[in-house]
Every structure is written in structure tokens, then in C-alpha cells.
Amino acid sequence: MSTRQFGARVQRNEDARLITGRGRFVDDLPLDGVLHGAFARSAVARGRITHLDTTAARALPGVHRVYTHADLGELDVTMPLLIPHPCIGHPRTQYPLAHEDVYHVGQAIAFVVADDRYIAEDAARLIEIDYDILPVEVDPAKAALDGAPLVHEDVPNNIAAHLVQVSGDPDAAFAAADHVTRIQVRVDRSTAAPMECLSTAARWDAVSGELTVWDGTQAPIGLRGALSSLFDLDEDKVRVVAPDVGGGFGPKIVFPYSNEILVPFAAKDLRRPVKWVEDRSENFVHMTHERTQIHDIELAATSDGVVLGLRDTFLHDTGSFIPYGIAVAQVASTQIAGPYRIPAIHVTFDCVYTPTVPVTPYRGCGRPQANFAIERAMDQLAAELGIDRFEIRRRNFIAPDEFPYTRPDLVFADGLPVTLDSGRYDDALAALEKALDLDAIRAEQEQARAEGRLLGLGLSFYVEGTGLGPYEGAKIRLHPITGKAYVNTGLTAQGQGHETAWAQIVADQIGVRPEDVIVVEGDTGVFDWGVATFASRAAVVSGNAVHVAAVSARARIAQAAANMLEADPDDIELENGRAFVRGTSSRGVTLAEVATMSNPLRYAFNKAAQTATQFAPTARSTGKPLPDGERPGIEVSEYYSPPHATWAYGVHAALVEVDPVTCDIDVKRYVCVHDCGNMINPMIVEGQVAGGVAQGMGGAFYEKLEYDENGVLRNASFMDFLVPYATEVPHIEMIHMETPSPLNPLGIKGVGEAGTIPVGQVIASAVEDALSPLGAPPVRQVPLSPSAIHDLLREARVSA
């Protein structure tokens, strides 16, 4: 065999295209005669529309149609609740276009279609909308109190869902404890801010009755299902294509957004292609958000710092609707005990409606909040018991020989009990301590403190259930003319590198170069079995499906080549795009020839095809050209379904200096140890982790969506919502560990969200440590900011 591609730092197949501007995104599609859409959106948070007049907009030259809910016919229904759950007592989802009631600033009210986007926006502004403004409460804690203004009149206390989960015997654990630590922590609202906002284009073919929708989505198959149902079309008549997608991070898993209904609807109605690309201003008030949770967490421990039980009660802000169910809260609740043994857990949450943009998973999906809660509590427990922060964690880790480790009755997002499959937590922490050189750091800290400088060390250990089912599939086809392999899956990529990772897996099996494996995804016209890209699952679930398919393709190639070479299939080797008998590499055939010969032909449409026609010397002389039970060509489809989630983990630490004048932080070192099982491509893994840490830095220190008391977003632009630049992201020292997952053939665990999860806690604990000599209060909330650090410093000064 040639060099193994799995595990190698292979250059990404997609990069040349993407970084030289040859990517093709929805907005790049050259659709003949395309019309452009724009939405009129609610200017108020909670209101009742008293007057809606589109006359002036319709009269503007260049405007084709202006739609309101009354024009939508069968489509004027509330959108699906994608993941129903029995605990959602009051499920509410929105209409494609608002009826009388509006529930958040930015909710779509009308859709204009015009010759170009300029005219469409002009017209949208001419739509007259008056509202009766209703009272609002945007803070989920206050919104859940008696007497608070209601988002949905018939939902008491704005509680959408309520879930209690008990694992083990928490009451006994708390009764037996020497010490109980209790804290309240809060993580604030953010947005994924993908580089490409939402985007949809559609074309209705009146001849064939087919609807084609190009959409910047993470879930083309799901969207196809929703559109076929809504438009009452056969699934084969709806094709959803996700072309290049400029970042997803979660919000693009949600469907259908208003645009995903209105754009195809208008295309069908007007018999013209229609395109709509969300602009940044809209993105802030339309694409879903995530993060606000308030946790009251308690740890029951022995005096040695062994945690016996955990109680956590939290509020989850779900915004004005709950289209994706309780996913975020559920993931938070099931990851609340982190890497720790903690045998008794009581976790309760309420999902609270607030008159804000709906909340659905964003990279991390509840884990950053859960990690913040448990790790802040562990730090607090360590401080109260006088135990070192590293040591207290070590005392509570699940040991390698305790896996699989099940938390009975704690049900994860796949509907199965939490079962951590493998890990070497202790080794990871030791690797971190070594990389940091803890003794040196402590000396440096002492020195800094003597000089009056504020230097602090923070750490966070996280686990992440990844690779959720139900399943994914892959199709591999060997091309008879070029000998290249074509791979299709039901997923879609938003920059993660599937075109390379899948190619590496296939290359190893069939002996071709990764660049000769062509991956085409995100097109229901090409492959339409599977689920979607989310929850750090692509590499685990699709990667293994691709592997299983590649093994099967290899077997078929070996069989066909064995027939051609009159050898035993077991003696066939595949290398450099050729099949040959082991030990005699000169006696071989190219994969193109194998593909050609395995497809009996009648017509010699090219030179190679001659060999497969009926009178060629190589043709089968006896029997059926295609024996019973055989299929033509080299083409296989296989599927992989994981038994349950596989658990990745890691530990990050940062050395941070706080500037007492600017109250800014300088991250002097950022060290990350992580384990995502076997790595397909370490370079891609590093990109994922680094990108995750960058996004985590946003959530730790920069990015906070601020609603005012009227429910208006105060910082809905990149001038005021601060996504960190490269200059704000520290250099990351990365240490890889590879503990293979026992659950899948490739031993993979997911890594897409890993980097994001621990950063809030890392920065919070580092800042807390830095300010501790001054007697500053503990850090209980992220994102931090210079103003927040200033408040901590001032409180320290007051109490001093």
C-alpha cells in the first residue's frame, strides 16, 4: 500500500477554489432573469399590527409583487417544530409572514419581489405598518416571574418547556456531603455571525413541474422534506442544493426560515427565478441566536473534594419561538457533570419565551453554558476546600477503566442515555500541566504580583457528546473515463473540509491520490439519504459511512480486476490508480479500465469503451454479460449508524494579564489539549479547534447581543457587536491526544464544536485568578468586557 492518507496533513482540496474567489455561493449563481426579494420586518418587539398597507410599495416601478400572509394560501401555516419533545408544554412556532401579532424586532411581515434588490428595499420601506405596542420583558429571569408581560398570551409565565432529570440519588448525596457549594452563573446571548448570511434562490420549471432551491443551509435533505410537504410536491420534484456555504455554525440547520418559503413561493407564483440574500443588518434580527442561560448550580462534596452530587436548575432563553425544540437546553443539561464521575445528578430547566430572535443551537449548543456552570463551581469548590484547582479535577475524573460510563436516566439529544465511551482525562490534564510548566508559571505570577501586575491562570475541562445518529450514507462511483472516484453524501459542508477528509478515507481503500477523489455534497439531486451537518457529527457519522462504502468499493474493484487479470481477488492490490496482482506490479490494469470493463457495453463511444463491447477480445465469451445479482460499473452506497454519541474531551488553559488602566486582557499563553479520537487530518482538526477558540474568545470577552428594555437590539451591526479579529485571538499551543472511539470503525470522535466550549470559563477563571490578590469578587458571567472588569476592580477597591 502507498502512504496512508488517513491521519496525514493533506492539503485541502477545496482551498484553491475557496481562497482564490472561485467558490460558488448562492449569491454567485447566474440565474437568467432573476428577480430579487426584500423583507419588511417588524420594528417592534411585541406588537399588534393595526394597519398594513402595501399600496405605495406595489406602485413603485420595478416591483413585481408584494406578499403578506394573506397571499400565502396553503403556506400560511405555522412552521414545523423540528424536534418535538413531550416536555414542551407550550410549543410555538412562527408563520412565514406575521399575522396581526409580531413577536420580535425583525420578524418578517411582508416580502417584496422586484427587478433588483435596490428597488426591493425601496419598496419595503414604502410599506406602511402601524402597531399597538405591547409591554415586553427581555430578561428571561424576569420574564418567568408572575405578572411579567407574556410573549404568547396563553403561555403562563412564558414557560415553553420544563424538564426534570434525575440520575442516581442526589438527595442522599447531598445528605452525605461534608460541604456544599452553590453559585449562580450566567452566559449571555450571542450570534454565530457566519461570513455568508442566509441566502435562498429558487427556480420553478413549469414544464417539468420541478422546484429547484439553492440555499445556504446545513440541511438540504431536511429542507427538501419541509418544502415538499408545504408545497405539496413529490419529493422527486423538489431539489435542494446547498452550494458553497460561507459558514454555518448551527443556525443554518434550522428550517424553514421565511425566506426558504417565500423565495420558492414567489418563483413559482411569478414563473421567474427569485433570489434573496440576507444582509448583515437583517442577519442580526432574523437568523437565530443562542447562549442566554442562568444556572443555579450546587455541588455536594466530601472534605477531600470528591463530588458526590450535583443539582442544577437553569433558565434557558428560547426567544420568541421554539422551532428547534429543547435541543440547546437538553444538551446543556446532559453535559452538566463534565468529565467528572459525580454519580448523582438532579437537573431541571425551564425554556422561557422572550420577545427576541428565536434561539436554536449555535456552535457549542448549550455546552459552553454547562461548562461554565460546572467549571466555575469546581473552581469555587476548590477555593472553599483549599484544594488546588488542578488537583480537585483530578480527584473527580472518570478513570480510563471505568468506560463506558453511563449516567442513568440522563437522556442525550439522540434520545439515548448519556454514555461516555472512552477517554484519558488524567493524561490530558497532566499533558496540560507539562505544557504550561506550572511551577514556572506560578513563579512568574508571584513575580508579577510583587510588581503590582495582574497575572492570572485559568483552566477548563470539557467533554462533548459528538457524532449523533441516526445515520448517514455515502455513494462512491468510479468514473470509467478518468478513473477518478466520485463521492456523494447527504451532508453539506460550510468550510469544514469534507472534500479532503472524505477523499483521504477513500484514497486509502482504493489506492488513488486524495486529489483524484471528487466529493460532491449538499445536493438532493445527487444523494438524498441522510440527515445534516450539525453537532460535530460529520466526520463520525458520514466519515464512517464513507469508509464503509470505500471498503465495499475496494472489494468490487478487486473482484473486477481479479476477473480481468485472472487472479484471486485476495491477491489484488490497489495503488497509484492501478490494480495489480501482489508482487507483480507490472501485471495490472488502471482503475479506469476496471470501471470500463465492469460495465458491459454495446457502443464503443470512445477508445477505452471498445474493450467493453461485445466483440472485443476481452469480452466475456460465455454467460450473461451482467451475471445475475451483479450491478454494472463500480458503484456502491453504504450507510453507517452509530450506537450512540461518542465523547470527545479536552482541557484548555490561559495565562492572562489584566491591564488596570484599560481593564483589557492580554492572553499571554493559550494552551489546548484535546482528544477527538483518531484524526483524519490533523491540519483540519487544528483549523477546527483554532476557529472554535476564536469563536469562544468572542463569547468570553467580546460578543454580547444587547436588547434594550423595549426589545430592540442595540448593537445589531459589526460596528457594535464585536466579533474578535485575528488580532484579538491568541496564539494557540495545541496538543493532540488520540484515544480511538470504540464505537466506530475509524475510531473517530467529533471536533467541530470543541474549541468553542471551554473558552468562557478559561478566561473567567484566569481573570478571577488575576484579580484575586486585590480581593475582587468572583466572576460569574460571560462575556466579560473592560467595563465588567472595571466593575470587579472597583468592588475590590470598595471592599478593601
Binding site: 435596490y118 481593564c663 467580546y702 454580547k704 460596528m719 479579529y725 473592560p786
Partner: protein
């Protein structure tokens, strides 16, 4: 985020630009476009006519004679930043301009555009207020010179009349031996300042402070001179004590309320620290050989 419909003209001469300016009821001037284009795209401005000055070569000049650095309004920020003659006469200009956005934006953005835009967090308006600079405005009816102290009236609001164009921005040179410093804090590299402070410091023969000038940006509706601190410094011994006291006196200059970037309380703390810092560095330079 598409701009509204407007007429676009790009005259070749200042006279031509002034003529359009006089004729049009509702025109705006396009200089480097770094602030105006987003303003149009957000539809915060809805003009009938946009007058693009990029072809008016006579406004893209830098002249360093007679104790003033006279800069044509259409001079790109990067050009002035890199101008060696200006640097030799007033090095504070370069130190301050390095805080404006990013190099790509400074390559397009103009001196006149930044000044006419009058963002209270902007560096150049602050510098002009600090140095007692002068602004020259012209309309088809004539020209007038406006002291910086009178030019900046409110957020995004200046003393320019609707038919006037800003044609020249004049920065005084520093005195021999005068110390100087500028520093600001922005949350991200290149962002508008949360707060910034500039200082010049002239010592007398006895080594005491003969003249201290201090100004701040980002803390009020316009750039502000920190007069109380300046007064307190006159005749004082330069040093930690005086500078810290000046920083304390600067706090009151903060009149912005809490916003998403910073709490007012934090801004006061920040400004006082920045003032202390720029004074310290200006003092070090004042003593040094020049």
C-alpha cells in the same frame, strides 16, 4: 443594505464641485467613502446628489510652510501619515493617525472626510482641538477659516454651512522641545476609540510645565480640551503626582452615558489613566533632545 437612489457627479475642479454644491438642494460630498458609504447603505442619509471629490486634484495637497501643516481635504490619511516633512514638524500627527482604523481604510479615507464627518471618537478632530488647528471652508460665495475649537459642534455635526465644502485642514507645528503623545483604547485593533487622549508639554527653563495641552476623544459629543487639567499643570513639576492629579481632573470631561461599548464609569477611569500615560510620555519626550 442598499443605498437609496441618488444622482452621482464627479467634477474635475473645486470650482465645479462648488457650483454643484450651490445648485443642489440636498447634496452630500463623497471623499474616501469609508464613513459615507455605510451611512448611505444603512439609509441614514438620503441625499438627492452625491458629489464625488476624487477627481479634484487641487484638494489633495500637503504644504508644510509657515508654522502650519496645511493639508488639502482630499489628501488620503495614509499620505499625511507617511509625509516626512509633516512628521519632522509635528511627529504627533503620525503617532495619532496610526490609531485610525486599519491601513487599508486609511489608504482610502481622507483628512477632510474624517474631519467633516466629526465622529466624536475620531482621532483627527481630537488632534485639531488639541493643537488649536484651523479649518478652511469654501462656498461659491467665498472662503472662511474656522478655529478647531468652534468647528465641532455635536456628534456628526460641524460648523460647515450646507453649501460649503471643507477644503483645507491646518495642523500647527510643535514648538522646539515640546513633548507630545497620543494614546487610545479600542476594544479591537483598529476600532473607533472607547476613549483616547493626546497631550503636548512645554517646559520652562526651570524644568516646570510652561504649557500643557490635553484633549480627549470618545468621551463627549465632540472632541474636548481638558482645560481643568491643563490649568492645574501650568507651573507644576512634571511627574507622577502632577500627572495622576491631571488624570483625576480629566474624569469630569466624560459626558457620554453608558453604551454598548463601555459604561460611563469605566470611561472616566480609562480617560484618567490615558491622560496620566500621555503626560508621562510627553514629559519624557519634552526633556529629550530634539
Amino acid at each position: 443594505m442598499k443605498p437609496p437612489c441618488y444622482e452621482y457627479v464627479a467634477p474635475d475642479t473645486l470650482a465645479g464641485a462648488l457650483r454643484v454644491r450651490a445648485e443642489c438642494e440636498d447634496s452630500v460630498v463623497l471623499a474616501g467613502g469609508q464613513s459615507l458609504v455605510p451611512t448611505l447603505n444603512f439609509r441614514l442619509a438620503n441625499p438627492d446628489t452625491v458629489i464625488d471629490l476624487r477627481r479634484v486634484a487641487e484638494l489633495a495637497t500637503v504644504d508644510t510652510r509657515d508654522g502650519m501643516i496645511r493639508v488639502g481635504a482630499m489628501t488620503r490619511q495614509r499620505t499625511l501619515e507617511r509625509n516626512e516633512a509633516a512628521f519632522a514638524r509635528n511627529p504627533l500627527i503620525r503617532e495619532t493617525m496610526e490609531y485610525i482604523a486599519h491601513p487599508v481604510i486609511r489608504s482610502r479615507g481622507t483628512i477632510g472626510g474624517s474631519v467633516a464627518h466629526a465622529d466624536p471618537a475620531s482621532e483627527l478632530p481630537c488632534l485639531l482641538v488639541l493643537l488649536d488647528g484651523e479649518l478652511t471652508a469654501r462656498s461659491s460665495r467665498g472662503e472662511r477659516t474656522i478655529p478647531a475649537a468652534d468647528f465641532f459642534e455635536f456628534v456628526f455635526t460641524t460648523a460647515l454651512e450646507p453649501e460649503e465644502l471643507l477644503v483645507e485642514v491646518a495642523f500647527p507645528v510643535l514648538e522646539p522641545g515640546e513633548g507630545w503623545a497620543f494614546r487610545e483604547f479600542a476594544r479591537r485593533h483598529g476600532d473607533f476609540a472607547v476613549a483616547g487622549a493626546g497631550a503636548t508639554l512645554l517646559l520652562d527653563d526651570a524644568g516646570r510645565i510652561a504649557r500643557a495641552r490635553l484633549a480627549a476623544c470618545g468621551v463627549a459629543t465632540t472632541p474636548v480640551r481638558l482645560r481643568a487639567a491643563e490649568e492645574a499643570l501650568r507651573g507644576a513639576e512634571p511627574g507622577t503626582e502632577a500627572f495622576r492629579a491631571a488624570g483625576e481632573l480629566a474624569r469630569d470631561a466624560v459626558t457620554t452615558v453608558d453604551d454598548t461599548a463601555a459604561s460611563a464609569d469605566y470611561r472616566r477611569h480609562l480617560l484618567s489613566g490615558l491622560v496620566n500615560d500621555v503626560l508621562t510620555r510627553a514629559a519624557a519626550r519634552a526633556r529629550g533632545p530634539r
